[in-house]
Symmetry: C2
Subunit: 166 residues, 2 copies
């Protein structure tokens, strides 16, 4: 998958120990930011739950989106579990980096799930309340996205019926 | 997979944030111990690289082996990447817990890969040099195993040919 399993079997090689920890530690409704190289990732990340920035240097933002969404379920309890930083003064145009990321979201979800536009300063505020921030090497502008983690609930059946995790 | 993906997609639900971190942080040749509830897990784990015990309470040792080997490649550079604590005074008999774990190893590897027996006190010493120890809720005796992490090398070709991780 994804050009070779470098560190663990069956897991995208971009998901290193720190990033796997963060994605697994997140719960329902927690958010993860994936941002370009221009975003104030370190200063914003210090306000997040994790409190320190995570890095995917040398990787484009859409490729990072692919890696994260290979394991992160998106929240189906809300209309907009995926957001993008909108171009200043233009809420409708998606630059190429966002169109590429949109394809990754749609592929991961198996349906069209359009990004909700988020105004630049509103994005900063929302990002500070996220669980964590992953800074990429994306050199293009507006390569900034936010995703809300969902749940994969077992059916509400007697325990013996679904077998738990054993 | 494995009775429901509770926390992340496509990842065994027993692999929580701390355990994923440890398995991903391990490199080639590092070892992970999976032990029963009787093993001196905490005292041994304090000597390991990670320095603290990881827990899968409420889980049998063979089930924990299945979870770990769903992502951990075993070392093909050595003859015995999988070891079991041998019964005191009997190096050949495998109790049921070890036979069950053996099936998990064989299933994960897609071939028969018999555990190497390790004498009890030799097991303790080897475990102290491991990267980490995962304590399970296994109530049967001799539910103690050690695994050496392998590598999944990209072919030695020019970078453009294999595409890296992008």
């Amino acid at each position: 998958m994804h050009g070779g399993d470098a560190v663990l079997k069956n897991i995208d090689p971009l998901l290193n120990a720190d990033i796997l920890y963060a994605l697994a530690a997140m719960g329902h409704g927690d958010e993860v930011v994936i941002c370009d190289a221009h975003f104030p990732a370190d200063s914003v990340a210090r306000k997040t739950v994790l409190g320190r920035v995570l890095r995917m240097d040398g990787v484009s933002a859409p490729r990072a989106v692919r890696a994260v969404l290979s394991v992160l379920p998106l929240d189906t309890f809300v209309d907009d579990p995926a957001g993008r930083m909108e171009i200043v003064g233009d809420a409708t145009t998606l630059p190429a980096v966002q169109r590429e990321a949109q394809r990754e979201v749609d592929d991961a979800e198996g349906r069209a799930l359009p990004f909700a536009p988020v105004e630049r300063f509103a994005f900063y505020e929302r990002a500070k309340n996220a669980y964590c921030v992953i800074a990429t090497g994306e050199a293009r502008g507006y390569g900034c996205f936010i995703f809300k983690k969902g749940v994969q609930l077992a059916p509400d059946a007697p325990e013996a019926a679904h077998g738990g995790t054993r």
